[in-house]
């Protein structure tokens, strides 16, 4: 299983970047923390759609779980469409995030549904969280699509 962590530097001991779409790089690893792969986030400075393109970057690299601080609604929807699990609310170094995730069982949360919080993480059905908050304002078009508000205190980007 490949895990991607949003990071401030291309190092396993670098502090995490709490932003998903606009973090400078991703560390891709397995739950044991071996076999690191560093990926520069070339989309970090994009005017719009940074999160969507960052998500594609990881999907193309076969990532199945993302550990990050916060993930915007569009990025969450993109990750979820490819079945990638999203764990938000992570902090500390990349190493600590992976260890904590592995200690919590290492099971990827189902991509489209919020799973129970474990080990201090705040897993969120990103799609439901984001779309609900964002679209509901826009004249009612999204009222019915918002799902999964419960179980996540992660603010929207």
């Amino acid at each position: 299983m490949r895990i991607a962590i949003s990071a401030t530097r291309t190092s396993f001991d670098a502090p995490m970047d709490e932003r998903f779409g606009r973090c400078p790089c991703f560390v891709i690893t397995d739950p044991e923390g071996t076999d690191h792969d560093m990926v520069e986030n070339i989309h970090a400075e994009r005017g719009s759609g940074a999160g969507i393109q960052a998500a594609r970057l990881l999907i193309e690299r076969g990532v199945s779980v993302v550990l990050t601080g916060r993930c915007g609604p569009n990025a969450c929807e993109t990750l979820a469409a490819a079945g990638v699990g999203i764990v938000t609310g992570c902090s500390g170094t990349v190493r600590q995030a992976v260890e904590k995730y592995a200690a919590g069982g290492g099971e990827p949360p189902a991509s489209d549904e919020a799973s129970p919080a474990t080990g201090g993480f705040t897993p969120g059905g990103g799609r439901g969280m984001g779309r609900g908050g964002g679209r509901a304002m826009g004249g009612g078009s999204g009222m019915g699509r918002g799902r999964g508000m419960g179980g996540s205190k992660t603010p929207r980007n």
Partner: protein
């Protein structure tokens, strides 16, 4: 004659200048059309108090993918510069709020799986206040794409002796859309370092559009003469200075037109109007 009232910095007094100018022109029995193109927050209505008599939704075209026809080739996502459409996994995702309605995805789709469907983003409203014909655009809450709305407001405007365009603040696409096609631009600034900084940017924007442009200093007397010096250096005329006046601020806070109750201010706006008429 079409005059845009713009500024770099927000809150310098665009709407104050625009509404008072409209009012003094109407007092002189000129035909006046007021276009509130600050569609994120149109507030000309606070001062002109129009009675609404017409409204129309503004829609933009966004792609809709037929999943039966689509073979997930991904060309739509490759051409889109805004990530409004992406092919991931076994799906094509559309993010309508990111779409700039260029139609590129529809053009490149080899299977014609994409059709364009309308999406409502705003309302254009018209009304009248005395002899002034008033138009405004208002983006729906949560929407960010103002240029199509500004275009829609301008498209509805009839010709008049004086068309006033109340532009949004800033120097980006919405401002360019608002001032485009105008005969004249007044840049409203305030004599603060921030005001001057943004005036410089706004001036550059308007000059690159090759529209004749002059400066109005609002709340003059607050600070030194850096703004005047800047304008002299750039060869741009300062055509009016409105004093930093408590009476004006009080009228503003009550949603009233300063020139309606203050003869001195009224005279300043009359002179400004005469100047604009003479220079175009």
């Amino acid at each position: 004659m079409r005059v845009a009232i713009a500024s770099g910095k927000g809150g310098t007094g665009k709407t104050t200048v625009a509404t008072n100018l409209a009012w003094v022109a109407a007092q002189q029995e000129k035909s006046v059309v007021y276009l509130d193109c600050d569609v994120e927050e149109p507030n000309g209505q606070i001062f002109l108090k129009p009675i609404a008599d017409w409204r129309k939704p503004v829609t933009v075209a966004v792609p809709k993918v037929d999943p039966v026809v689509c073979d997930l080739c991904g060309q739509c996502g490759d051409i889109c510069q805004f990530s409004a459409i992406v092919c991931v996994g076994q799906k094509v995702l559309v993010f309508p709020e990111l779409c700039h309605s260029c139609g590129g995805c529809d053009l490149v789709c080899p299977l014609s799986a994409i059709t364009e469907v309308p999406r409502g983003i705003a309302t254009v409203m018209a009304g009248h206040t005395g002899s002034i014909r008033y138009f405004q655009g208002l983006l729906n809450i949560g929407e960010a794409m103002s240029p199509p709305v500004i275009r829609a407001v301008k498209a509805e405007a009839p010709e008049a002796e004086l068309v006033i365009v109340d532009a949004p603040p800033g120097t980006a696409c919405p401002v360019v859309e608002a001032v485009r096609g105008c005969d004249h631009v007044l840049l409203v600034t305030e004599p603060t370092p921030f005001g001057l900084h943004d005036l410089e940017l706004a001036l550059e924007t308007v000059q690159s559009l090759e529209i004749p442009c002059e400066v109005v200093i609002n709340r003059a007397g607050l600070n030194g003469s850096a703004t005047e010096e800047f304008c002299r250096r750039k060869g741009v005329e300062v055509v009016a200075e409105f004093p930093d006046s408590r009476r004006v601020a009080e009228a503003y806070s009550r949603g009233e037109l300063a020139s309606e109750g203050d003869p001195e201010i009224r005279d300043l706006f009359r002179s400004l109007l005469t100047h604009i008429e003479d220079s175009t």
